[in-house]
């Protein structure tokens, strides 16, 4: 055991200082897609996207990051219009905020108060329960990565709990299959108030690829009220951490809607 202790100490501190210091993503990282030029787009641009994230209305492009699986098909087809940004902070508290360049009037969505606003004690110690409702399995890896020494979410007072009865935050992955709808609802119902729901990953935000296959509800918000959306296929650990801190009210900076 002593040897393990030395082995652990040998490496010094590798832990990120996020959110105190920004955590830059490596160059070339596919964090989100930025629309450089929204005007004069041909209608067929819509067909470039396999998940229907790109819409063209009267020549103007809108990109729904809640549907985008970051495959890069649009970046390859129209590099003058679309470009990847290496950025981790992609989460937003409103679904509409994920739609980039939408010119049509969007209905005003209600933003739920953060956990910190609802209860002052819930800013420093938050217990998290994860439920998989039909992900591809990658999101689970990135959520679990939050406990490794590089992210160490315990330093921010974030803990996983086995029971939803002790949980303040529900992390949901996947577009919600029929078989998981009931177990998911039950887990949510037994959570004490105040509670928050995070939709983690593009599948959880909209169903992603699976939306058109008819077996999923098409996003967690079709089943439960969602506090924070974390798009990405899958979102990186820092992106999930950003979403958690957004729900807690510890950080307020949301994804830039550009």
């Amino acid at each position: 055991m002593l040897q393990w202790l030395f082995r652990g100490l040998r490496h010094g501190i590798v832990t990120s200082a996020y959110p105190r210091n920004p955590e830059p993503a490596p160059p070339g990282f596919r964090g989100r897609v930025l629309v450089l030029d929204k005007a004069d787009a041909p209608q067929r641009l819509e067909d470039v996207c396999p998940t229907g994230a790109i819409r063209v209305r009267e020549g103007r492009v809108a990109l729904d990051r809640g549907r985008c699986v970051l495959c890069g098909a649009c970046v390859a087809a129209a590099p003058e219009r679309f470009v990847f940004v290496s950025d981790y902070e992609t989460a937003a508290r409103r679904r509409a905020a994920l739609v980039v360049g939408d010119t049509s009037a969007t209905p005003l969505e209600e933003v739920m108060p953060t956990l910190g606003d609802r209860s002052r004690t819930l800013r420093r110690s938050i217990h998290i329960r994860h439920v998989d409702a039909g992900s591809d399995g990658a999101e689970e890896w990135e959520i679990q990565a939050l406990t490794n020494p590089y992210y160490d979410m315990q330093r921010l007072g974030l803990f996983f709990t086995p029971s939803p009865r002790h949980a303040d935050v529900l992390l949901v992955t996947g577009g919600v299959t029929e078989s998981m709808r009931e177990p998911l609802l039950r887990a949510f119902e037994v959570m004490p108030e105040p509670k928050a729901v995070l939709a983690v990953g593009t599948d959880a935000c909209s169903g992603g690829f699976s939306a058109a296959a008819g077996e999923v509800a098409g996003g967690v918000d079709q089943v439960l009220p969602v506090d924070v959306y974390v798009p990405g296929s899958p979102p990186a650990p820092i992106a999930i951490l950003h979403g958690l801190l957004l729900a807690a009210g510890v950080v307020t900076r949301e994804a830039a809607a550009a």
């Binding site: 070339g28 970051l70 890069g72 399995g137 406990t147 009931e182 296959a213 077996e215």
Partner: protein, 496 residues
């Protein structure tokens, strides 16, 4: 009965289908297509399995209403095609091999085709978590519905465990809680979009799925990707394997309450994930493998990759040595969840689960694809068949993987910028395969010019899962998580 042959078939009539009449149809080696009558399909499968074949899959494409049975035999992939001709039933394959149990239930749910005398032909694809079936009945036994939501960050799957309190009397496996119907989603997609979807079937094996898919398209189109692209594919596939095997290590160390071990292995896995992100922009190697070659050029130079691999290996070897000397860890694995090679063969098991029973089942060597035929490596094997054996296989595969990455990177020509070949249209059907970290994944595709007409996936996780029920011989409840994690399977991949 006499063996018939299609005129012009290049190979000699094979003895292995003796006693069953069949007709050989044209196919690109090492695939072999044999047409049999639907009433003979079970008998033909039996003959192939008795000849040393390994059952891999069963499905029915909607486009031509004929059953397909896939069997791997001596370096070839035999595709039996049995036209239904209006029949709605066929003799059950589950009576011959338990590997067909789940595929036959799937087939029944999706197309209503009945496998005659299937032992349990009930709906599978939309399980209800509350409906439990007792396997063992007795006054002092009960069922623990373990899942679909379990403690910890795990994917959804249910294991109803029959127990008397401590001993595991029986453990059933109920997949499909997260079935997203993604095979059907392939219909009408372009080749490139199809690769992006394949990456999202089993997210932790994105590269392997994209490889199997892309190789099926490439084989149908009759092209080979540039050599340099094939080498980079190896780099990504082996990094993926390393990350998956380390993930199994993390979960096992967590089960053994070895927290520093969890941290160290977690750090090692994170280093691999970060290397992958620096190399291609995705922590899961997504967007790299597309039909025709690479979807994006490597963002790191040869030297940078080799340096990163060297640094990783130095750390990894120290942790590995320490881990294998920690008896509180190894004691929990030795003798736990033991399987023997006959059971593995009977169930058509693949991947590290099979290799831990000293079976040489590995698609990279059975039917070499891409650069694997030109790289020097050996199959990692263990003889014990238990959780420890499976873990040892994984550790050796990490060593071999790092070795292959160095070889592949050394051979990449830094001047060559030809990463992708133009794909002509392709028609007809073709299979593609790749050795994913959990075992061989096979894609069967029907193509229509520049589009996918239909896709079926033979998932290694679904093939191995029934073996989990077989691996409880005198084990207790606290062994359940060790055995499950030592299998290292992907619910998303099994459910599709």
């Amino acid at each position: 009965m006499s063996a018939e042959r299609a005129t012009g078939a290049a190979t000699e009539p094979r003895q292995f289908l003796d006693g069953v009449s069949f007709e050989e149809e044209a196919a690109l080696a090492p695939e072999r297509r044999l047409r049999v009558a639907v009433e003979d399909v079970a008998r033909a499968t039996k003959v192939l399995l008795e000849a040393g074949g390994h059952f891999s899959g069963l499905f029915q494409p909607g486009s031509d209403s004929a059953l397909r049975v896939l069997v791997a035999l001596r370096g070839e992939l035999i595709v039996l095609r049995a036209p239904l001709d209006g029949e709605r039933s066929y003799p059950s394959l589950s009576r011959i091999t338990p590997a067909a149990l789940f595929p036959e239930r799937e087939l029944h749910d999706l197309s209503g085709i009945v496998s005659l005398d299937h032992p349990q032909l009930e709906p599978a694809l939309r399980p209800n978590a509350d409906e439990l079936r007792r396997v063992v009945t007795g006054p002092e036994t009960f069922v623990i519905p373990y899942g679909p939501i379990r403690s910890g960050v795990f994917e959804a799957i249910q294991y109803p465990i029959d127990t008397g309190g401590e001993d595991v009397l029986a453990l059933s496996v109920r997949p499909y809680f997260k079935r997203r119907n993604l095979e059907q989603r392939f219909a009408g997609l372009s080749f490139e979009h199809g690769a992006y979807l394949a990456e999202r079937i089993a997210g932790v094996a994105s590269v392997a799925h994209a490889l199997a898919f892309s190789q099926a398209v490439e084989r149908a189109a009759g092209i080979e990707p540039p050599r340099v692209a094939e080498r980079w594919r190896v780099v990504h596939a082996e990094l993926e394997r390393t990350a998956n095997h380390l993930d199994v290590g993390i979960k096992l160390a967590e089960d053994a309450a070895l927290s520093v071990g969890v941290s160290r292995l977690g750090a090692l896995k994170e280093e691999v994930m970060r290397l992958r992100a620096r190399l291609c922009g995705s922590r899961f190697g997504r967007g790299v493998v597309v039909p025709g070659g690479l979807g994006s050029e490597p963002l790191l130079s040869k030297g940078e990759v080799v340096r990163a691999i060297d640094a990783f290996e130095r750390d990894y070897l120290r942790d590995r040595k320490l881990l294998l000397r920690t008896s509180s860890f190894t004691d929990r694995l030795i003798g736990t969840g033991a399987l023997d090679s006959e059971t593995i063969i009977r169930y058509g098991g693949v991947g590290p689960v099979a290799r831990a029973c000293s079976l040489g089942i590995d698609a990279r060597l059975e039917r070499p694809y891409g650069s694997y035929g030109r790289l020097g490596f050996r199959i990692a094997r263990a003889t014990s068949g238990d959780a420890m054996g499976r873990f040892e296989v994984r550790l050796e595969e990490i060593d071999q993987g790092l070795h292959m990455i160095r070889q592949a990177v050394e051979q990449t020509d830094s001047e060559s910028n030809d990463f992708r070949r133009e794909l002509p249209g392709a028609d007809g059907e073709a299979c593609g395969w790749a050795e994913a970290p959990m075992g061989e994944v096979v894609y069967w595709l029907a193509l229509d010019g520049q589009q996918i007409r239909e896709a079926h996936i033979v998932s290694p996780s679904l093939r191995n899962w029934p073996l989990l029920s077989e691996s409880y011989r005198g084990d207790v409840l606290t062994d359940v998580s060790f055995i499950e994690h030592s299998f290292g399977l992907s619910p998303a991949g099994a459910d599709r």
